[in-house]
């Protein structure tokens, strides 16, 4: 960053834009260009839109970088812009009351940004901004100075593994495709990101689209592909827009198209906006979808990397994986491998949500502990309540309890703990979350997202969901927990694809770690977390009730009786368990149990 400059970086991710980021950027730009400023100032001051830096809860985030020194503002609205501009940018003294707090600092400082490094730093819509940070040098280098085997070796040595969930070695995958003697090969970026709670790929594609394209180019060079597809869910409209723009820029500069970098190799990459079915996380389903068919997994007689689109070798990597590739080529395999563990190099991006103080997109080295992520990056549990568990890896992941907090986040350790890396979703649960209800929540998603092809997943998942439904509604039966276990492991064992093999995870892991809570639901017809409505009772504590009548007024079912200034009484027959009385009582006289 050149000295003597003022750069205003306005976050322009999807979250920020919905919080008014575009207006904030516009306001800054207007002020920079306003006529009563000196031309020399205008020359060295600019306002950039940058990618998401992960802390979307506090959008709009604005960095003001004066002579290399950065100040971060959070929750900026456009009407705050004139004061920041006046006092900080022109006046030199930051507006303290709006700058980021310690929690924000620890959120950022405890991360290790590799794949997200450009997000929040450069303008994702500007190819030159990417070139300024040595963009496309790795690709140029790969095409001009490296043999495919060298690239593959380097990727293998970096210990990069697929970030899509299964964690297959990227280098080996490329090698399979490379070894097939076939003219027509494909490289596919899977930007479908099925998990509704994950947004890592989206942020990377929005915030650093050229890194994804560069990764694909390097892969194409390594395996000899002439065609690439970015398979992206259509709902990611900003990512679609930015990738489309990025591809256009690449074609204009000759980075894509015929004879790229004078290597003799052609490469055409196309955007494939897809309806975005959950199942497209499964490579074979994605291939079907690209071929124009319904996305349904097919039996893997052979590997997709050898027999994919139209029967041709096809490497499918997810966006995060691909965005890592240029960094590996630029900084070296051992650097990347050194970031992580013995078996898995680099970092991993998680979508940290749920009951933590700071939630957002976080990048930590492979091998960091869950505790680090929750307590250091996330700042601990919201309202300092008791930690209960983390659902890891999205709706097909598993839920691990406190005893696993010191587990390290890498593929093997998570498997031992009973979950998966999956989509990188991390939902933190606290004591107010019912574990059965949480499992039901995830199964509600997965039973509906089953492609319907194979029996265990199509019907079995629905049946599991229905068992959970009856447990949470107070109709659980003896043996239901065992039935869930049996059916869950049956689905895991007999399903056709990775989706079915993992979909029972939320139930299997919670039954394993929180079996008592299930039993209490079934045996005692109680929900310890006070979440399952059908299992709750509301009653009036006679001693505490002042007879103010507030509860009676708000009760929608006329279930509360009592005369003024006398203790009231709730008719259990009529109570619909809406909780209005509980919420409205100023004296804590309603008992919820």
């Amino acid at each position: 960053m050149d000295n003597n400059s003022v750069v205003i970086k306005v976050c322009s991710g999807t979250g920020s834009i919905s919080a008014g980021g575009a207006e904030v950027l516009h306001a800054f730009r207007e002020l920079v260009l306003s006529s009563d400023l000196e031309a020399s100032f205008q020359d060295r001051c600019r306002a950039d839109k940058v990618g998401c830096r992960g802390f979307c809860a506090r959008d709009v985030l604005v960095d003001v970088v004066i002579d290399g020194e950065k100040t971060t503002y959070e929750r900026v609205k456009s009407d705050m812009v004139p004061r920041i501009f006046e006092e900080h940018i022109l006046g030199g003294s930051p507006v303290q009351e709006w700058t980021a707090d310690e929690l924000h600092q620890s959120f950022q400082d405890n991360q290790k940004k590799v794949v997200l490094a450009h997000c929040g730093e450069i303008d994702p819509e500007d190819l030159d901004a990417y070139l300024n940070v040595k963009g496309y040098e790795a690709a140029r280098n790969a095409f001009n100075d490296m043999q495919p085997v060298e690239i593959i070796e380097k990727i293998k040595r970096s210990k990069l593994r697929g970030r899509g969930g299964a964690g297959f070695s990227t280098g080996h995958k490329w090698e399979f495709a490379y070894k097939v003697d076939e003219k027509e090969k494909y490289v596919v970026c899977n930007g479908n990101e099925s998990d509704p709670g994950a947004f890592a790929d989206r942020c990377i594609m929005e915030g650093d689209p050229h890194a994804v394209i560069e990764g694909m180019m390097i892969c194409a060079r390594a395996i000899g592909a002439g065609k690439g597809y970015i398979y992206i869910r259509d709902g990611y409209s900003l990512a679609v827009k930015r990738l489309r723009l990025a591809l256009k820029q690449c074609h204009e500069r000759g980075f894509l198209g015929k004879n790229i970098f004078e290597s003799g190799q052609d490469l055409d990459i196309r955007l494939y906006p897809a309806p975005g079915a959950f199942i497209c996380g499964e490579a074979t389903a994605l291939v079907q979808s690209i071929e124009g068919k319904r996305a349904m997994p097919t039996p893997r007689l052979t590997r997709t990397s050898e027999n994919g689109i139209r029967g041709k070798p096809t490497v499918i990597n997810n966006a995060e994986t691909l965005a890592n590739v240029p960094k590996i080529l630029r900084n070296g395999a051992s650097w990347f491998a050194g970031l992580g563990t013995d078996t898995s190099g680099g970092t991993k991006v998680f979508s940290l949500t749920g009951k933590v103080k700071s939630n957002g997109l976080v990048e930590v080295p492979m091998g960091a502990t869950l505790r680090d992520v929750v307590y250091k990056v996330g700042g601990g549990i919201d309202q300092d309540r008791a930690f209960k568990g983390i659902q890891l890896g999205g709706p097909t992941g598993g839920c691990v309890p406190e005893s696993c907090l010191d587990s390290r986040v890498d593929y093997e350790s998570l498997a031992v703990a009973g979950t998966i890396m999956g989509s990188g979703g991390m939902v933190v649960l606290d004591e107010t979350n019912c574990i059965v209800d949480t499992a039901k929540f995830f199964l509600d998603i997965t039973q509906a997202e089953s492609c319907g092809k194979c029996t265990p997943c199509r019907i079995g998942m629905r049946r599991m969901y229905e068992i959970l439904e009856r447990i949470t509604s107070g109709n659980g039966r003896d043996g239901d927990v065992e039935l869930l276990e049996d059916l869950g492991s049956h689905i895991r064992t007999t399903s056709l694809c990775g989706f079915g093999m993992t979909a029972p995870n939320p139930v299997l892991s919670t039954v394993r770690f929180f079996r008592d809570e299930y039993n209490i639901h079934i045996r005692d017809r109680k929900c310890p977390a006070l979440v399952c409505k059908s299992l709750l009772t509301f009653s009036c504590i006679e001693e505490t009730c002042t007879g103010c009548g507030m509860c009676k007024r708000v009760c929608p079912a006329d279930a509360i009786r009592g005369t003024r200034k006398k203790p009231h009484f709730i008719d259990q027959e009529l109570c619909v368990k809406c909780g209005s009385c509980f919420d409205s009582c100023k004296f804590g006289a309603i008992l919820k149990e």
Binding site: A448, G452, T455, P456, I459, G460, R462, R463
Partner: protein
Amino acid sequence: MGSSKVTLNIDGKEVIAEKNSTILDAARKLEITIPSLCHNPDLVPFGGCRLCLVEVAGTSRPVASCAALVQEGMRVKSSTNYLERLRRTNVELLLSDHPNDCMLCERAGNCKLQELAYYYGIRENRFEGIRREYPEQDNNPFIRREMEKCIMCGQCVRICDEIQGVGAIDFAYKGLWTKVSPPFEKDLDCEFCGQCVAVCPTGALTGRMWASKGRQKFREVETVCPYCGCGCNITLAVKKNEIARVYSKKDTVNQGMLCVKGRFAYDFVHSQDRLTRPLIRINPAKDLYLHQENPYADSSSSAGFKPDPAQFREASWEEALDYTALRLKEIKDRHGPDVIGGLASARCTNEDNYLFQKFMRMAVGTNNVDHCARY
């Protein structure tokens, strides 16, 4: 690549199989029965029903034998308590979403799901829950589609696409509600070849014309289709004196495939319009034909012409044949045989036609015999 054959071991028996064949193929060579609902050797492996699971030494999960290639030295177990439990559970799951309609179902007694339920003795089902119900019916005239009986084996979808090349149906929706459907749930509007009906393992797809004509104890008569020159082999399923349904077997010149006519168009055999008595004309035909207009322009179709008692009377065979012989002899005697001709039929048997030309050439004494090979 070496040899194109591999040797593997299934249930302790060695078998030599083609390199690109599946474990299921190899097992069938050994005449080992592995249950399956979605497998069809003519179609691309589907791997959906999960009944053909087998254990392969060295792999942690059971594999679907219909969709796993054989490998040299592979050791396979086709049936263990563990596998049978998995299979049974899958059948249970299927039954938990299947109407209990065997009493009335067209396919009772000839239903693969029913057979598996019987085999695994599933009366009580551990799983219960919502079932698909589709009150809306497809109104196409040929194929009855009861999609709540569909077990999603995908054979209909695949045969329509991979063999017939029509693609009239595909999967729609997700999860339990996944359904085989024509586009936008419209009524089926296709070639109605019924290939889908032929492969359906359950009562989801049946011929409308089969309804209530009987389900079991058919007398099967192997014969040849009465329509075009393909000469497809068909099986007439006969109950009493009625053709109840028509299908074609796998080991035939047409490999079990038929077209709409060959599979569904047999109403004519038992039509009320069939001629049943010889007829002799008693009054001259109406002279319909002395103008340029089509005399039949107002008939909705030729189907429905019946002998007009004002023009014909019924006669015994003896009378009709004697009368015919008399008239033919008369004409032959007066004008010679070459003013008489015969038109044979490309729809009659070789034997009929052999006799016909022999009759014309010998009894009438003319070579004026032809047929519509030209039209």
